[in-house]
């Protein structure tokens, strides 16, 4: 990432997407939320904590309105996804989490399409049916992916999981630690280190 011109903040943005999706998946699967994108499931939406009824949003009304507007544009649904309506039982936590969600997934140094791909990859890696269904329409729209593009994304996830398993299983030590983006720029101490975007090996 750093070699591709991303700064320290950009890398932190990726970490933020990863942990945001991981935390969403923990709640969704912990409460056994049933996928509700593109349409709500038949029967109860969760086995443990029922979502707040959108008709009676109480103190969460303003936040839920903002989420509904986003969900309509990004997910193509007319309802507030159950994950947010579960959190709406704690309006203050809902507002803080939604504000963080907008910051994390909004355009920063990295664009939303890159973040959508990242979110989908993490959702798949964490085996979260709820989050996979939730991010599916967003990543397709943001990155313009058709089914073939989705398989390209899935192939990458398979590769990363394979290599993570190899690296972890064989206890490989990290090749780079305590680095700055400037280390990978021309003239930096790691400018010629191998990796994506690296200059070809000299003959």
């Amino acid at each position: 990432m750093l070699r591709l011109g991303v700064s320290e903040q950009g890398l932190t943005e990726i970490m933020a997407v990863a942990e945001q999706v991981a935390s969403m998946a923990a709640l969704a699967e912990g409460f056994r939320l049933r996928p509700d994108v593109p349409r709500p499931p038949d029967g109860p939406q969760t086995e443990l904590v029922p979502p707040l009824d959108e008709v009676e949003p109480g103190q969460a009304a303003e936040t839920l309105d903002a989420i509904r507007q986003w969900a309509t544009e990004a997910l193509g649904v007319q309802h507030v996804p159950a994950l947010w309506r579960v959190l709406a039982r704690h309006p203050r936590f809902l507002a803080a989490t939604w504000a963080k969600d907008r910051l994390v997934f909004g355009r920063g140094e990295l664009d939303q399409a890159t973040k959508a791909c990242t979110a989908m990859a993490v959702a798949m890696n964490l085996r979260s049916p709820y989050c996979v269904a939730y991010f599916n329409p967003w990543v397709r729209q943001a990155m313009g992916l058709d089914d073939n593009g989705m398989v390209e994304l899935g192939a990458c996830v398979m590769h990363y999981v394979s290599f993570n398993t190899i690296a972890h299983g064989m206890m490989l030590e990290p090749p780079f630690v305590d680095v700055l983006a400037s280390d990978f720029r021309p003239g930096g101490r790691l400018a010629n280190a191998p990796g994506p975007g690296a200059p070809p090996p000299s003959s």
Partner: protein, 84 residues
């Protein structure tokens, strides 16, 4: 410290040399096979198979920009607790 000691190119048996040709080209002049390839080099056919899979996925120039692929790689690795 890695679980297995990394292998040197000159320790690869003759019948497996074809599987490390691509790696020789990438690491000109290097004697030891290190990093993610080093972890697979005790089974060269497997390493080559993984490399071909990488070329068809992560390194495939399809519709996903390289930056998005790298971001996915970092995020998946983070959520897998991968130090490497």
């Amino acid at each position: 410290m890695p679980t297995l000691r990394f292998r040197r190119f000159d320790e690869i048996p003759p019948e497996d040399q074809e599987h490390v040709t691509f790696l020789r080209a990438r690491t000109r002049g290097q004697h030891e096979i290190t990093g993610i390839f080093g972890a697979q080099a005790h089974w060269p056919a497997y390493m080559a198979s993984n490399h071909k899979q990488a070329l068809a996925s992560y390194q495939f120039q399809g519709v996903l920009p390289q930056l998005a692929k790298e971001a996915m790689h970092v995020a998946v690795s983070m959520t897998n607790g991968c130090d490497f």
